[in-house]
Amino acid sequence: DARVTQTPRHKVTEMGQEVTMRCQPILGHNTVFWYRQTMMQGLELLAYFRNRAPLDDSGMPKDRFSAEMPDATLATLKIQPSEPRDSAVYFCASGLAGVSAYEQYFGPGTRLTVT
């Protein structure tokens, strides 16, 4: 049963530190989405990639967030420097281009706490 994996599952860090979250999409999927989940804002789309190229990162604070896909099996979301307001659960999802966006498969999330 293929699944999206994310590491780490939990991360506690101090304000100002760099945080890197990793996502392994389902093998063969060529679209990757990054979401942030908070109680106040719900699920927000931060960025998404198709065939490793960024298609839309308008939801991402550009000054401190960056997202990349170094290869087809790895997507990263980096925050530098981190701030307490970044505390949230970050989800990665993958899907297939040409298939409706609703057919996304979500990872378990990375719960980030910035103190």
Partner: protein
């Protein structure tokens, strides 16, 4: 601009009672709407889509274009329905399709 509104952050009902989770949307086109569910400590997963007009786990949702609503309903709630529910629509932007989510409603079904 496309938007999904879920007016209730929290909803609490008793087991066996009817439940309705509200969702309103704005979209300049013909939307595709969905409900996603996230049970405690589990991944977000698709619950149902309006096109299929199916009932999943006793839940149904009807798209009302006149009221721009897609409310999720179940006649008799069960404790295992307690979860976070997100309404979403697919939107085209920049030649690509993406999901736009509401802020979610946390449903608690009390025994």
């Amino acid at each position: 601009a496309q938007r999904v509104t879920q007016p209730e952050k929290l909803l609490s009902v008793f087991k066996g009672a009817p439940v309705e989770l509200k969702c309103n949307y704005s979209y300049s086109g013909s939307p595709e709407l969905f409900w996603y569910v996230q049970y405690s400590r589990q991944r977000l997963q698709l619950l149902l889509r309006h096109i299929s007009r199916e009932s999943i786990k006793g839940f149904t949702a009807d798209l009302n274009k006149g009221e721009t609503s897609f409310h999720l309903k179940k006649p008799f709630a069960q404790e295992e329905d307690s979860a976070m529910y997100y309404c979403a629509l697919t939107a085209w932007q920049g030649g690509s399709e993406k999901l736009v989510f509401g802020k979610g409603t946390k449903l608690t079904v009390n025994p």
